[in-house]
């Protein structure tokens, strides 16, 4: 038997075609049928305009694209041996900005996009608070997200769609009172996490070393855990358990894990394939069914995102949960929430490190227009995983721009008999509702997947 479902609420939509055998999914095809052509749009545009364009690839992770563009253009200078000097202040303001965007994204994703679906698996009255639009917890989640993003607007001017990062630094020049305002908003976010999500203070949370510790609490995470275990979500959703993270930050380490071995990453081994992907102005071939491409490392599929980052940088609680439950829905979602908690904690520290006496921006000595031809790569940790930008410019005009988003790693089609990451995870599910939740556990962003 075959079924076809349209999946909404993934920043766009996708089609899920499942083949069923003995009431379980035996094959799954994820189709992304919409395409906006950003890489085509960027061609022949002035290089600095990419700072305005790429954040608009995605309304929820624009800061990740902005940082990737700014740093790709900085790496152009590096490639001609004229590196720009970026002050620590500018570096901090970029990382803090990106962190706040990820914090906002994780809160929204959990309370708006996945909890309403998971809560629906149960008929118990107490889970009605997670219902979309009406539920008390849903509303508290949106409240907390919009309050936390203010911390970014304080120095970036607005969110979404600001382009305050630029090769050479950042455009803003915050005051000490701006810094304290940012701290205040982060403290409010932390308060929300302690009260609503965890149910205890953060110090106690950091002492947790197993999911059993959640049982003593009464908050969203314990509800989430109970719902997962009642519905086998701690068993379902397993993929290859190979993980990759492409860049380092204060919280994350780059690397990859394959069969428990931690290894280094060599960016030159990344390849983007389009065997199953539609082509522009070409007759559709039989095997082409999606606009998503496939990202591979050394010809193998890897998962990217909060679970991969938690495992590679050795975060205790997630490492322990992963030991027992592998890369299940439960582990994957817990990793994203653990990352949220850690990000708020570390971002507060980073804000305090800003030295306001440093410059925000130091202009380049060489005009981009005087660089005849150069190519460079940048990598950034976005909410959904590793993002890669590769740009070629000629006299400050873009000649080629390639973007590999996290969702291309996680949601791109499998090649031949090798399933894609999410595809493999869905196989084995016994209901379409659970298949949707498994897919959602990757924090699907349809617009990013095809861009």
């Amino acid at each position: 038997m075959k079924t076809l479902n349209i999946i909404e609420r993934i920043e766009g939509e996708a089609k899920l075609v499942c083949t069923w055998k003995e009431n379980k999914i035996s094959d799954a095809q994820i189709q992304f049928l919409n395409f906006r052509g950003f890489e085509y749009i960027l061609n022949n545009k002035p290089a600095l305009d990419a700072l305005i364009y790429t954040p608009r690839i995605c309304g929820i992770c624009g800061q990740a694209h902005l940082k990737a563009t700014a740093e790709a253009l900085e790496n152009i200078y590096k490639s001609i041996n004229e590196p720009l000097y970026i002050t620590d202040k500018a570096k901090l303001l970029r990382e803090i900005g990106l962190n706040i965007e990820i914090i906002d994204s994780h809160i929204k994703w959990f309370y708006i996009f996945i909890m309403p679906d998971i809560a629906k698996l149960s008929k118990e009255q107490k889970y009605l608070k997670y219902e979309a639009l009406k539920g008390e917890s849903w509303r508290k989640g949106t409240y907390a997200a919009s309050e936390s993003i203010k911390a970014l607007a304080v120095f970036a001017g607005q969110w979404p769609h600001t382009s305050y990062m630029i090769p050479g630094g950042v455009m803003s020049d915050p005051t000490l009172f701006d810094i304290i305002t940012m701290q205040n908003y982060m403290d409010q976010t932390l308060h929300f996490l302690e009260k609503e999500l965890i149910g205890t203070d953060i110090e106690k949370y950091f002492s947790f070393d197993s999911e059993l510790d959640l049982d003593t609490l009464n908050a969203t995470l314990s509800d989430f855990k109970n719902l997962c275990f009642e519905n086998d979500l701690h068993i379902l959703g397993k993929s290859y358990n190979s993980h990759i993270t492409l860049s380092d930050t204060s919280l994350f380490e780059s690397g990859r894990i394959e069969v428990k071995n931690r290894l280094l990453v060599d960016l030159s081994l990344i390849d983007e394939k389009d065997i199953n992907t539609f082509k522009i102005n070409e007759q559709k071939k039989e095997n082409e069914y999606t606009w998503a491409k496939t990202a591979l490392y050394n010809n193998k599929p890897y998962e990217t995102g909060p679970l991969s980052r938690a495992l590679i940088s050795n975060r205790k609680l997630i490492k322990n949960i992963h030991k027992t439950y592998g890369d299940s829905v439960f582990t994957r979602v817990m990793a994203r929430m653990d990352e949220l908690i850690n990000l708020v904690f570390i971002t507060k520290k980073l804000i305090k490190q800003i030295d306001l006496s440093q410059e925000s921006y130091i202009p380049a000595k060489i005009d981009l227009k005087d660089i005849e031809s150069a190519t460079s790569i940048s990598t950034v940790e976005a909410a959904r995983g590793s993002l890669l930008h590769k740009v070629t410019i000629e006299n400050a005009i873009i000649k080629d721009y390639d973007v590999i988003t996290p969702s291309v790693w996680n949601l791109g089609p499998g090649i031949g008999d090798k399933f894609g990451i999410a595809q493999k995870a869905i196989i084995g599910a016994d209901s379409i509702e659970k298949a949707h939740i498994i897919l959602r556990s990757f924090d699907v962003c349809s617009v990013c997947t095809t861009h």
């Binding site: 909404e8 609420r9 920043e11 939509e13 049928l33 919409n34 395409f35 906006r36 052509g37 950003f38 085509y40 749009i41 002035p46 600095l48 305009d49 700072l51 305005i52 364009y53 995605c58 309304g59 929820i60 624009g62 929204k108 708006i112 679906d117 979309a132 639009l133 509303r139 949106t142 409240y143 919009s146 993003i149 203010k150 607007a153 304080v154 120095f155 970036a156 001017g157 607005q158 969110w159 979404p160 769609h161 600001t162 382009s163 630029i166 050479g168 630094g169 950042v170 455009m171 803003s172 020049d173 005051t175 305002t181 539609f278 522009i280 102005n281 925000s360 921006y361 202009p363 617009v447």
Partner: protein, 296 residues
């Protein structure tokens, strides 16, 4: 007795979802008031109980909001198997008010730059207004990339209370777009006395002369209502890129186009020669205060 709550249907076409996330970042109590006052019947990212089929089965929609540019080309874009144009033609006939949310829905915006699909445009260029029998006033364009959440709220509440709002030549609510992004900018004094920003990354100086700021030529009230309740791009140090105007995005948005050192476009409604004369005079005043750091 339950009062009638006007139905909102929000559809998405070619979009990055930036307007949705702008709405979700609204002032929380304002957002709650919106949810309590209106029946938020359908939004592809937010609602869970209703489907697009439920929307198609509705007899009447009070407010149809569209985010994203429109195309009839199913090869590049479709919504639940339907072309964007076909879907909108069906749904618009049921609607009392139609609002294009954002520059993409209004003019095609950034997505219209995808030339391989030559059929990307705004909503008002797609629908035939004569066929929209239920429509109570022309299609409203809430331009901006993205739209400020207050613009959505104010427009919806005004239409609910007063039934009609006045629109400018480009079908934008005059109440939002009567002024310029420049009004309320904390750098205005630098603009008046022609003190240029030394470079990016400073609180001091105006971004109009070198950094490409379009504040004096862009209709919007960003600097009067503030973003996320706290700030704006120009206050923070990022030039206005004119995202509420029909010609967004332009080329070289972060630099000021000049002829022999003079900005080739001058503030809205001012004769160029007159502007240059005033500039010359203003520059003769060496105002010490404006050439110093604000915080030493």
């Amino acid at each position: 007795m339950m009062k009638h709550k006007p139905k909102i249907v929000w559809l998405q076409a070619i979009t990055c979802n930036g307007n949705t996330h702008s709405l979700l970042s609204a002032n929380p109590s304002r957002f709650e008031l919106l949810l309590n006052t209106f029946d938020f019947f359908y939004h592809p990212s937010i609602t869970t109980e209703k489907t697009l089929d439920d929307v198609l089965n509705l007899k009447e929609i009070d407010f149809l909001l569209l985010e994203g540019a429109v195309t009839s080309n199913k090869q590049f874009y479709q919504i639940s198997d339907s072309s964007v144009t076909d879907l909108l033609k069906k749904v618009s006939k049921k609607s009392k008010y139609i609002i294009s949310v954002g520059s993409c829905a209004s003019y095609g915006g950034i997505h219209a730059k995808f030339e391989e699909n030559s059929d990307i445009k705004g909503l008002q260029d797609t629908l035939n207004i004569v066929e929209l029998k239920k429509l109570k006033q022309p299609i409203i364009n809430l331009t901006g990339c993205p739209v400020h959440p207050e613009w959505i709220l104010q427009t919806l509440f005004t239409l609910k209370e007063f039934g009609v709002i006045s629109l400018d030549m480009q079908s934008r609510p005059k109440d939002i777009y009567y002024g310029l992004a420049h009004h309320g900018c904390t750098r205005n004094e630098y603009f008046e006395w022609k003190v240029e920003a030394k470079s990016f990354g400073h609180k001091e100086g105006c971004l109009f002369y070198e950094e490409g700021c379009r504040g004096p030529m862009t209709h919007s009230n960003c600097n009067r209502i503030l973003w996320n309740d706290v700030n704006t791009k120009t206050r923070a140090g990022m030039p206005c890129i004119g995202c509420t105007e029909f010609d967004f995005p332009r080329d070289n948005m972060l630099e000021t186009k000049k002829n022999i050192g003079i900005p080739s476009e001058v503030p809205f409604g001012i004769n160029k020669r007159a502007y240059l004369t005033i500039t010359g005079v203003a520059k003769t005043f060496k105002i010490d205060r404006l050439n110093k750091k604000l915080i030493e």
